[in-house]
């Protein structure tokens, strides 16, 4: 599959824009503007490196795409956004070439537009509700809100105009933020803005959480994450990498001995789930977490410089249907696999991955085996993986998740050959904090229990949000919870008498 070049997309958009100039557009006119495709690198070229695949709209494409918005009075898109961005307002600003205003509108409610514009599942959020998509009877033809969010965020970043938000005078109150992923970044910024002292604790050597160890460069350039971290530093947030709260220091000690007034737990869902099938501990079976952490955080894609090796595999099987499964499959191609097979128990319609990731994976040659379930891992005498026994399935009645349950078809077993098997079936929160903190309550799956409004945990002064509460969810939901928790922390600290730093 070949893509139109970014330049031809730009030229086409420019011509169409010129034809619309000085005209008052009716809703009907807007509906006839063609949806703007995302300029992307050629699959045959991009699978040889880890550079970003989607190149972003040109200004001409962005204006044209923004003109497709009908400016609905009831703005259903806003209700589809977990942080309620004023979408019609920022789209109007882009259409009228007021990019600085557009990003300012987004920043009123969102902290990570360059990230969310790239990784949000828009087709089940804002774009799912979009009237344009409904009128054209295809969610893929909705206004590309996410791509436009990315556009203005990139314009701002590349212009160098972005300024860290101002902080209020020091209050002397101290907040410990545990985990530097999307939830932690959000809380650190929102709490620091009020003048409180913030320490951001990160267990790994590089801050950013899942944005750094999990999501690959080809989907989210690390320079974008680094800028967010630099912004926190510029605001005066103290970042402490290589610090595992629970082991390096217990949470209770931070609160009772080290003078922190409040803590926020944004430790994510980092504990990989395995399939619990025969042969799963053979050499060559990896959690997607391990595979992606080696490739992303440890930079194993850079064979010349990185010390961390990646297991070689000509044929790679990935089990799962979410974004992480797509990331792992596409990373395997970039690391030299000749064939990558994706095995998923349900159909493509049930896959939790973003449509764009599924499309990109297919374009790059990942072979999809839907309605196939893994049965057992097969190995050789050296204990190394040689294949995966799968069984075909059909869809049955809905299960607890509301999705149709895969039902195995007896006698349909077969063997898919591979040297590497990557398991991408989800993560759970790490149990370390509940294990080492008296009274910190979690549910059966390790998710911390919190108040739905304040995000306070079972302990006073301790708040939590993001995947540690939600299980594996999304960046935007983590950010939304972070904002909610930060508001509650700020309100709690405001009640305390001021103290000099």
């Amino acid at each position: 599959m070949s893509h139109p070049s970014p330049e031809s997309l730009r030229r086409e958009a420019a011509a169409q824009l010129a034809a619309l100039r000085n005209r008052t557009l009716t809703p009907k006119d807007r509906l006839t503007i063609p949806p703007q495709p995302m300029p992307s690198r050629e699959p045959t070229e991009r699978i040889h490196d880890v550079q970003e695949v989607a190149l972003g709209y040109s200004p001409e494409q962005a204006r044209l795409e923004a003109l497709r918005c009908l400016q609905c009075k009831n703005a259903p898109c806003i209700n589809g956004c977990p942080v309620r961005i004023n979408i019609p307002a920022f789209l109007k600003a882009i259409a009228e070439e007021r990019d600085a205003e557009a990003i300012a509108i987004i920043r009123q409610t969102s902290l990570l537009p360059a990230v969310c514009g790239r990784v949000c599942p828009q087709e089940i959020q804002c774009q799912e509700r979009c009237t344009v998509g409904k009128a054209l009877k295809d969610v893929r033809k909705a206004v590309s809100i996410g791509r436009l969010e990315r556009f203005v965020a990139d314009v701002e970043r590349e212009s160098g105009r972005f300024q860290p938000p101002p902080t209020k005078p020091e209050t002397g109150r101290r907040v410990a933020v545990i985990g530097s992923g999307p939830a932690g970044i959000t809380v650190a910024a929102d709490v620091r803005r009020e003048g409180h002292t913030v320490t951001l604790f990160e267990a790994l050597h590089k801050p950013g959480g899942v944005l750094v160890y999990g999501i690959p460069e080809f989907r989210l350039p690390k320079a974008i994450v680094e800028l967010e971290i630099e912004t926190l530093r510029a605001m005066g947030v103290d970042i402490r990498p290589n610090f595992l709260v629970g082991r390096t220091r217990r949470l209770e000690a931070l609160l009772h001995d080290d003078g922190y007034d409040a803590a926020f737990i944004g430790a994510g869902a980092g504990l990989p789930r395995f399939l619990d099938i025969e042969g799963e501990n053979l050499v060559g079976v990896f959690s997607a977490n391990e595979y992606l952490t080696r490739a992303n955080l440890m930079r194993a894609y850079n064979r010349e410089q990185a010390d961390t090796p990646i297991y070689p595999g000509r044929n790679v099987i990935v089990v799962g249907g979410g974004n992480v499964a797509m990331d792992a499959a596409r990373m395997a191609l970039r690391l030299g696999a000749k064939e990558v097979h994706l095995v998923y128990r349900r159909t493509e319609a049930e896959m939790p991955a973003r449509i764009e990731e599924i499309e990109h994976a297919k374009e790059e040659g990942v072979q999809f085996h839907v309605l196939h379930a893994p049965r057992r891992v097969i190995g050789n005498a050296a204990g190394r993986v040689t294949g995966l026994e799968c069984i075909r399935c059909r869809l049955g009645e809905p299960d607890d998740s509301g999705r149709p349950r895969p039902v195995e078809i007896p006698g349909s077993e077969y063997i898919l050959e591979a040297e590497t098997l990557i398991v991408a079936i989800g993560n759970e929160p790490n149990p370390l904090l509940p294990q080492t903190t008296t009274g910190l309550k979690a549910d059966r799956r390790g998710r911390l229990l919190v108040d739905p409004v304040t995000n306070q945990t079972s302990l006073p002064r301790v708040y939590a949000g993001g995947d540690v509460v939600l299980g594996s969810a999304t960046v935007i939901l983590a950010m939304g919870q972070g904002r909610q928790a930060a508001a509650a922390i700020n309100a709690f600290l405001a009640e305390l008498p001021p103290r000099k730093a």
Partner: protein, 287 residues
């Protein structure tokens, strides 16, 4: 940054570094480990045992064998240099109680992680029989420190160059046959040695703890690369261990998993050795 306060070469390929790490020194308990990175841009993260700690000085002692790129690099560092990243203490601390008579077996570099456990067992009032083994005399480490803690010390070498010419399992079996038999055994060393020790104590039904050192990336429960089969269940060495019931561990699977990156490691090791030699030669003229 963790400044190096002391450096010693304990054996041919074994080095000791005492480094500043006040937070880890304060919190660490016997049996725990750290993840070390010699370079935070491209360097690997490797698990190393905390062989000792001094909370008042704010230091921990690391003992390691030069087996890979990071350990070779660490061996080229000197007092005053710094290690950029040390995370810890990690893993569950050793379960220490007053068992009565405990037999502790250390093989090769495994004597280093055994040291804090023996300190803790001794402090809990156990009678200690310590068996140390090494391939050859100049690979034996920490003999003096162990001699000070042990009520009885048995040293053996594979080649008979020092102590008894025997594998550690030989004296271990003898100790197990004594009346009364030891109440508890801890064995740390190469996987094959731990497996043999577990098989030795099994018929005597002596509870036997082993400390596993597997491949890890993060060391905090995130990657699962360290997973082992214990009693038929998958466990993570980094968060469920590093110590497990030696009678339940599937050592064969663990040994296969340890060889996952053998080819890449062998290539890197050769290169590292050359670099270490070069560093040594470059230092010589000024020394």
């Amino acid at each position: 940054m963790h400044r190096i306060l002391e450096k010693q070469q304990l054996a041919d390929e074994v080095f000791l570094l005492r480094v500043e790490a006040p937070l880890i020194a304060r919190e660490r308990k016997a049996g725990q480990f750290v993840m070390v990175q010699a370079d935070t841009r491209f360097g690997e993260r490797i698990p190393l045992t905390i062989a000792d700690a001094n909370p008042s000085e704010g230091s921990i002692t690391l003992i390691f064998q030069t087996v890979g790129k990071t350990t070779h690099h660490l061996a080229t560092l000197n007092v005053g240099d710094a290690i950029p990243a040390i995370l810890g203490p990690l893993g569950r601390p050793t379960h220490i109680e007053t068992f009565g008579t405990a037999v502790a077996v250390g093989g090769g570099i495994g004597i280093a992680p055994l040291h804090p456990i023996i300190q803790a067992l001794k402090a809990a009032g156990n009678r200690l029989i310590v068996i140390l083994g090494a391939r050859t005399r100049n690979l034996l480490i920490l003999e003096d420190q162990m001699a000070r803690l042990a009520d009885e010390l048995i040293v053996c070498t594979d080649d008979g160059s020092y102590g008894r010419k025997a594998l550690v399992t030989e004296p271990l079996r003898e100790v197990c046959t004594r009346v009364p038999a030891p109440d508890f055994c801890v064995a740390i060393g190469p996987p094959i040695m731990m497996k043999a020790c577990a098989e030795t104590t099994r018929p005597f039904r002596i509870p036997t703890v082993v400390s596993l050192n597997t491949i890890m990336v993060d060391g905090t429960g995130m990657c699962g690369g360290c997973r082992v089969t214990v009693g038929g269940k998958t466990r993570f060495v980094c968060v469920d261990g590093p110590e497990f019931d030696g009678h339940q561990v599937d050592f064969d699977n663990m040994m296969l998993r340890l060889r996952a990156y053998k080819e890449q490691e062998d290539a890197a090791h050769h290169q590292c050795h050359l670099e270490l030699e070069l560093a040594r030669l470059e230092r010589k003229p000024s020394a």
